[in-house]
Amino acid sequence: MTGNLYQPINSEIVDIIDESPTIKSFVVVPEKEFKFETGQFVELTLPGQGEAPFTPSSSPKDTRKMEITIMKVGRVTGLLHECKKGQKIGIRGPYGNGYPIDDFAGKEVYIVGGGVGLAPIRSLFLTLVDRIKDFKSVTCRFGARTPDDFIYKKALFGPWQQIGGVNIKLTVDKANGQWSGNVGVVTTILDRSDVDIANAVAVVCGPPIMMKFVTLKLLEFGFPPKNIYLSMEKNMSCGVGKCGHCMIGKYYVCKDGPVFTYEQIKNYPNIWD
């Protein structure tokens, strides 16, 4: 028998970072070197409880450990939020295609993210910043429900904004006392003149409703559907294009995605559901 594709690699949670009231980042060390490309995902097993797909939020440069940012939404994620440092877990993967960053070279990269959607984006961002000269610019438009709901606050509110070639604008749905920035959903900070659309690619990741309206806005700006990259969230169980749960039309999100251009999936119904 060759390798068992259902066998997780034994791993350990070595650190836990509180990001927001509902989101934590888990620093995971697999027992052997683990390589992935930015945008690919892993299947994380909480032993005896269940398995769920997540895209690492750390840079692929670190092959010894990875960070996985998880929002508490269901049973497995709820249990993960109760875990302490030292918890043994399993990791399978990496799976899927990841972001085609070589195709982004020479272009303006327009990244729109919301909520926990900033997790895959952080990995992408760190990868782009590492070779920032390869891209014309990196323009980010991020939103969260409230200032407290932003994840990676320390980097986001400070150092990331100082990086040359990077332009970041933030917005919140609801402000609190200290917030002096924009108030409104993320589409309110998107502007046709943010990037040169003829030489730009857009990357969108966030809750389905946000992805839908951002995509519509980008189309209105004149972005061709083939230049809008979407990270699709579907029910991915096996991760290897067999079990069928994650299908959007003919695509297996786990194998052909999770990153799709809007062009690929625009004709299928209910892609945002």
């Binding site: 032993p47 029910n235 294009g241």
Partner: protein, 351 residues
């Protein structure tokens, strides 16, 4: 390849059963199921007219199996060679389809691969096709030409056994004493029987003729109301996907044992409401009609795009098992009617 003749099946099956576990068809009420063959004479030898009601996938991809154990990985059980007698051409096509999924180079399923390697396939010709059989509509036929180790055809005075693989050929050569010279006219009789069964199938399904390749007919009906209409009586029993020999959806779930954790793999069904639901609550196929559409699109269009073959063999098991009256043949027929009228409209516009 060898082609031999025998008057009786029992000595032949006994010889197989001496070498490996053998499963044979056994009549159970109106249908056939597979049962373990006991050479002692306890198992009656039956030559089934059509496929069993249970799908062949059960032998390769069981309802539930252990997929992983951790922290210490488990040693998978050594699969012993086994044989199945009485598989039909539709069964062999379903194996070809499952092979595409589970033997994919990049992501081979080791459990499926292990069983597939050890399986000795003895197919047999159909006669008197069942009411639900419609393989001929989808390019199938009531007898196999490839995909078997041995194939058995019944003729008046006995059985013709043909080898289809090196393994099958070796078996026939090794047991040549069991067989006799081919009677004059036996092979001609076999061809005649086959042609007659084929004709019968065509007559049974005369009303279900597609006017274009099935992918074209089905994909052109993507927006059709047929799916919602046909799904109206579906009670979500999921029997259609359970008995389907090509449906291969499964889910993985985790359990805790005394001193280890395990990951199990179990059949699932795309007709189930929460099938595609994510933890956050989103569900792209909440509506039953959408699920039926997806199931048929997968079978007749998406799978073909990916692997070059359809994912339906026309065995009719889903028709027999259906408790809500959803008939895949009726859906195909309606889609074909809609296709024809669209085609006509196009032709008229051209004029």
């Amino acid at each position: 390849m060898e082609v031999v003749f025998t008057r009786e099946l029992k000595p032949f099956l006994d010889a197989i059963a001496q070498q490996m576990e053998l499963y044979v068809p056994k009549k159970s009420n109106a249908h056939y199921v597979f049962t373990r063959y006991e050479p002692s004479g306890q198992t009656q030898v039956e030559f089934s007219n059509i496929r069993a009601c249970t799908p062949v996938k059960e032998f390769l991809f069981p309802l539930r199996e252990l997929a992983a154990v951790f922290p210490e990985p488990f040693e998978p059980e050594q699969i012993k060679p086994f044989a199945v007698f009485g598989l039909k051409q539709c069964d062999l096509r379903s194996i070809e389809i499952l092979d595409k999924v589970f033997l994919e180079e990049e992501f081979e399923d080791p459990f499926y691969a292990g069983r597939r390697q050890k399986m000795f396939i003895i197919s047999s010709d159909c006669f008197e096709p069942g009411k639900s059989c419609f393989c001929n509509v989808l390019g199938g036929q009531p007898f196999a030409r490839t995909g078997f180790d041995l194939n058995v055809s019944q003729v008046k005075d006995g059985f013709i056994i043909e080898a289809g693989s090196q393994k099958g050929n070796d078996f026939l050569q090794k047991h040549s004493a069991l067989f006799m010279a081919m009677p004059v006219g036996a092979l001609v009789e076999r061809d005649k029987n086959r042609a007659e069964t084929q004709k019968q199938l065509e007559q049974n399904n005369a009303e279900l003729k597609l006017d274009a390749p099935v992918q074209e007919v089905v994909s052109s009906g993507y927006d059709s109301d047929v799916f919602d209409e046909e799904a109206k009586t579906c009670v979500e029993c999921q029997a259609c996907t359970r008995v389907c020999p090509t449906c291969h959806c499964f889910y993985l779930y985790d359990t805790r044992q005394k001193d280890y954790f395990s990951k199990m793999k179990m059949w699932d069904s795309c007709m189930r409401l929460a099938y595609a639901k994510v933890a956050g609550g989103a569900n792209p196929r909440k509506i039953l009609g959408d699920r039926l559409r997806h199931r048929l699109m997968h079978k007749f269009s998406y799978f073909l795009d990916r692997y070059g073959i359809d994912m339906c063999v026309g065995c009719g098991r889903c028709v027999d098992a259906e408790s809500g009256g959803v008939d895949i043949r009726a859906v195909l027929k309606k889609l074909n009617e809609e296709f024809k009228s669209k085609d006509k409209q196009k032709a008229e516009v051209k004029k």
